[in-house]
Symmetry: C2
Subunit: 233 residues, 2 copies
DNA sequence: CACTTTGTATGTTTTAAAGCATCAAAGTTA
DNA sequence: TAACTTTGATGCTTTAAAACATACAAAGTG
């Protein structure tokens, strides 16, 4: 169960939050333009084709952002973690969402009204610049993914995805188990391969002692070797 | 030969230029922070790994922006046309370039100093917002490309690339010939396929009367059918 | 509780696209 | 203009990954 005691204060006072850099006056006003929503596991936050309702900040939980491709096959373009921003690309480009967001686990999302973002936040050049920086990094990531997903072989793509999950969500207290509960299908959709091939290749990695699998629990046993497999393609 | 008479005036006074929306004072100051460079065909403007030297605007010519992938295989991530902005992603994310830019033809590029961009342009919220919008659109494009390049079959990918070239550069006076002189290898690198397959599939499209080829001149004979081939994957 | 659905695991077959080889045409340089 | 290099065109072979087929376990559902 989530800590439902989380409130707006905790969001604006956390240095990792994008709203942290607003000045006090702006923060005060933000209170009137913000709302919190709770989602269970596997719920849509927004769907491809929806009109953006605001600027979304994932307060707690984990979310996958994906696009539907040929024959409904989905490609995960990004994973979000707490205090990550979601759905802002469509808002800023004034388009409908071209990707969907679904929770991987119980999550808390706060929505900030477009009015506040446009008339207040974006007038603050620190905020604007932070957004520019975020978009630039994400664009760099997306371009890199395009290349690796098209050019690397299955093993390389899967290794890269596992390392990506490690970077994004880190480990449990044991220091080896990935701190994310994700289906084989989602691993496949993250790595541009079929579910069968994700399962098969995970098994191979486990046989080779690079990882250990116990249901959905994945332990990274040899990150260096995964790096090498990822680099080799 | 390029019209070398092009100057800073022509850049700031063109409504399609991002600098058009600066106020007069900012425009005046811009003059002292701008320089023009001329490139011949197939010259590098910047290379993957280079440190960004400034904010670049393609004044005239055509440029491909690409990343090196597995085994040196290149993937074109974007094509630029006059008054398009290049190399700004790396500048704003404060990273080294993660892609290279090479001219497809004789080109003119203007460089604006990072100081002017940071201390002046980005303080103008109209400019910042234009950049945010540009990045957002490009990110949407990149995410879409990831999906189509990984999921569509060869015919779909090539059809999409031809339509992309059409959208970007348009037609010659005859209304059918693509206004870009591009090698089969570049078409392949744009479409995530080998040069052989690009050549082969172009021939097939020509046999099917969707296009006509005469050396590097490509005529789009049936754009609707190309759209259909592109959509079907 | 049985019953259906969903997720995981593997083996087998098929296929799209890469890889390779060869040749012709067009450009470039000596 | 001859020699060389690059680019374009096509056929043939190989291969990586999809597609398909079961089987079985786990998790929901009536």
């Amino acid at each position: 169960m989530l800590n439902s005691g989380l409130g707006v204060k905790d969001i604006v006072d956390n240095p990792k939050s994008i709203f942290y850099l607003l000045n006090q006056e702006e923060k005060d006003e933000l209170q009137h333009h913000i709302s919190l929503a709770h989602y269970r596991r596997n719920e849509f936050i927004f769907k491809e084709g929806d009109k953006p309702t605001g600027f979304l900040l994932l307060v707690d939980g984990k979310v996958k952002i994906f696009k539907e491709g040929v024959g409904g096959r989905e490609q995960i373009v990004r994973m979000a973690k707490p205090l990550g921003v979601i759905g802002y690309r469509a808002l800023f480009s004034d388009e409908i969402h071209n990707s969907s967001a679904v929770t991987l686990e119980e999550s808390l999302v706060c929505t900030v009204s477009p009015e506040f973002i446009y008339t207040r936040a974006l007038k603050n050049s620190d905020f604007s610049f932070k957004i520019i920086r975020k978009l630039s990094k994400e664009l760099g990531f997306s371009n890199s993914r395009t290349v690796t997903l098209t050019q690397k072989h299955i093993r390389g793509r899967l290794a890269e995805s596992l390392l990506l999950l490690k970077e994004k969500y880190g480990f449990e207290h044991d220091g080896t188990t990935l701190k994310v509960y994700i289906s084989r299908e989602d691993i496949a959709n993250l790595s541009n391969m079929t579910t069968s091939n994700a399962i098969r290749t995970l098994s191979t990695f486990a046989n080779e002692k690079m990882i250990a699998i116990d249901g959905r629990k994945i332990k990274i046993l040899d990150a260096n070797r995964l790096e090498r497999v990822s680099k080799l393609g």
